[in-house]
């Protein structure tokens, strides 16, 4: 019993930076706006965090394995546009549309993974390239038209609810649990950490490094598909320009949540706390009517704090480096 409590303490200590920042922001906002600590506002806040949270869950896998993925926002926009177009203009069944959106996300993730793992291209630049390509293709595909009139079944992951819980929240929770199980209870999860920690050592101990990289990108792709469904569902339209900058928000959240930029260290709990912090800032700004320039400044500083604490931790763990 005592051991378990102690264990929790250790768990919490891993996230002290992000928890500290959340509390700091929370106290500031609740002192300055009476609307902040209300049930309604927190419902809003959690709901608003879902798109980023789902995308960040996927991206965490990629980053744990030691890679980057800048194409998240572009994939979300691209598959959202294709899925919506198939349902609205080509008349396929909404449920099939949902399936296609998820699979297409996975497929695009696989292309990223293939380029990075099989061709050995640098992940940062490769996904920058796929991001640019996908945005361009999406723009050409729609010709700038907003796709609207989505049937409610296609929007179910964004607007539906089950047992009084909004679908996006439920989906985020389910995906989080699946992700957590994968990472902490399976060989795959163990391998992802090992590959991210030290690729050479992983290779020497017989882990198929390339395969692990590929799998993490596919997981991320499917998650982007899910994020696209939540986003288009909530907003009710699909646009080639949607989710611009999503990858950056997600990456910032992940870094603030204690995930190492070099891979091998981090967790989904940290990621979600990071996402919560980012959403909290936006929400607080809306309530206090702060200029969004201020929020950018805070977000930037928080990323720096996250990076610094990561660096401090690396020094502590490997003092010789």
């Amino acid at each position: 019993m005592n051991l378990r409590i102690k264990n929790w303490g250790i768990q919490l200590r891993k996230y002290y930076v992000v928890i500290f920042l959340i509390i700091l922001a929370g106290v500031f906002f609740s002192l300055n706006s009476e609307g902040f600590l209300t049930w309604k506002n927190w419902q809003n806040l959690i709901l608003q965090s879902t798109t980023v949270a789902i995308a960040a869950t996927g991206l965490t896998f990629v980053m744990l394995a030691g890679n980057f993925d800048l194409s998240g926002g572009a994939i979300v926009a691209f598959v959202g546009v294709i899925g919506a177009d198939l349902v609205v203009n080509q008349g396929i069944h909404p449920l099939l549309g949902i399936l296609v959106t998820l699979l297409l996300g996975g497929g695009l993730g696989a292309i990223n993974g293939w380029l990075v793992s099989r061709l050995g291209l640098a992940s940062f630049i490769t996904t920058l390239a796929t991001m640019t390509i996908l945005r361009g293709v999406a723009l050409n595909y729609t010709g700038g038209i907003t796709i609207s009139g989505l049937p409610s079944l296609f929007r179910i992951l964004g607007t539906g609810s089950l047992w009084g819980v909004p679908m996006p929240v439920l989906l985020t929770l389910v995906l989080y649990l699946i992700g957590q199980l994968l990472l902490s209870k399976t060989v795959l999860g163990y391998h992802i950490y090992v590959v991210g920690g030290d690729q050479k050592a992983a290779h020497l101990s017989g882990i198929e490094v390339k395969k692990i990289h590929l799998i993490t990108y596919i997981i991320a792709g499917v998650m982007y598909g899910a994020a696209a469904l939540v986003l288009t569902g909530r907003v009710g339209v699909a646009m080639s320009t949607s989710a611009t900058g999503l990858e950056m928000t997600a990456m910032s959240a992940i870094v603030i949540g204690g995930c190492s930029l070099y891979g091998g260290r981090g967790s989904l709990v940290g990621t979600y706390l990071g996402v919560l912090l980012m959403t909290l800032l936006e929400n607080g700004a809306n309530l206090l009517n702060l200029s969004s320039y201020w929020i950018q400044l805070f977000e930037g500083s928080f990323i720096l704090i996250g990076l610094l604490s990561d660096k401090a931790r690396v020094k502590k763990t490997y003092p010789i480096r």
Partner: protein, 337 residues
């Protein structure tokens, strides 16, 4: 390894071939000398831009003027493309400026090369521009403020209440002007209508979140929301629906939504009485007017005015079928997808 690299390269090139084809108008007339104009347009990332460019291009085609189009998505690429355009032989330069200040350097370069410059939708804050064709965005903001004030009056029985503004992107001069016009008119003419919040929203998702946060905070104390562009207006409607605060127009807890531009979805929602109104700009008229002014100046050699304002008009569920609105024209029901 090398083979697969080659494969990727091949795919990339062939894909590129498919997508870039339509970006340049290739009709090069042999024989008589045609008028050639360079067009610096924005990416057609929304219907308004699309309708405006469509009207422009179809008029240009009728008059057999040749156009070289360069499309960009931000200030920097626009600047680069301007330089590329000006190395070619063009008789005039038509610009859709992202930013009134940033475009000045383009205008000045064109002035040096003695290429006449026209802008549409937004003005340049410097340099010599022959003519600017646009909606008067500041007065559009004023029109919106008066319209929203009247709607608040309908609802509350007095010019008193709380409203909020979804500001769009304040780096776009057109959005900034509308916000300024709205704020000025509202505070000067209706001192009892408070603007309780105004936030930027560059995407519908952001507009949805902002509006939901306001509704959570103010509840039904919020009387209305003005959206500075209609690509955000639908998201405001979604927020009200998601927060379960939908009340029919005329009910005491109804939250007024007023948009700008008259996008297709918004026009449909106005017909369905879900949105209270939109201050329409005439996208097709702006596009056609640019060509008319160009033709007057370049071909007929007449003097033209420095500014042409294309009027805007308030469209509500109550006047949408009126002769007045039909005469003004609803661009979103006229352009081709």
């Amino acid at each position: 390894m090398k083979k697969s690299m080659l494969f990727v390269l091949l795919i990339a090139i062939s894909l590129g071939g498919c997508f870039f084809r339509d970006s340049v108008n290739e009709e090069s007339g042999v024989g008589e000398k045609k008028v050639v104009i360079g067009l610096l347009a924005s990416e057609t990332s929304n219907e308004f831009m699309l309708a405006m460019q469509q009207a422009f291009l179809s008029r240009v085609e009728e008059l057999e003027i040749e156009v070289v189009i360069k499309v960009s998505s931000n200030v920097e690429t626009q600047l680069n493309q301007a330089n590329v355009l000006m190395t070619q032989e063009i008789d005039a330069l038509v610009i859709w400026p992202f930013d009134g200040d940033a475009v000045v350097s383009i205008v000045e370069t064109a002035n040096e090369k003695q290429i006449p410059v026209f802008t549409y939708d937004t003005y340049a804050n410097g340099g010599d521009v022959v003519s600017m064709i646009s909606t008067d965005n500041f007065s559009l903001g004023s029109t919106a403020a008066r319209a929203l004030a009247d709607m608040v009056y309908e609802k509350n029985g007095e010019y008193k209440g709380n409203v909020a503004i979804v500001c769009g992107s304040l780096t776009l001069t057109s959005h900034l002007e509308r916000v300024n016009g709205f704020k000025k008119t509202m505070s000067e003419e209706y001192p009892n209508i408070r603007i309780v919040a105004s936030q930027q929203a560059k995407s519908p998702e952001k507009a949805l979140n902002v509006a939901a946060d306001w509704l959570g905070l103010y509840g039904s104390d919020l009387d209305g929301i003005y959206s500075v562009s209609d690509y955000l207006t639908m998201a405001v409607l979604q927020a009200i629906e998601a927060m379960e605060q939908t009340e029919p127009i005329g009910s005491p807890h109804h939250i007024i939504i007023l948009g700008t531009d008259a996008f297709p979805d918004v026009v449909t929602s106005i017909r369905d009485k879900k949105i209270d109104g939109t201050v329409a700009q005439n996208a097709t008229e702006i596009g056609a007017e640019v060509v008319r002014v160009l033709y007057e100046y370049l071909v007929n050699g007449h003097a033209v005015e420095p500014i042409y304002y294309v009027p805007c008009m308030l469209i509500t569920p109550f006047n949408i079928n009126s002769d007045e609105v039909q005469e003004y024209g609803i661009w979103s029901e006229a352009y081709q997808k």
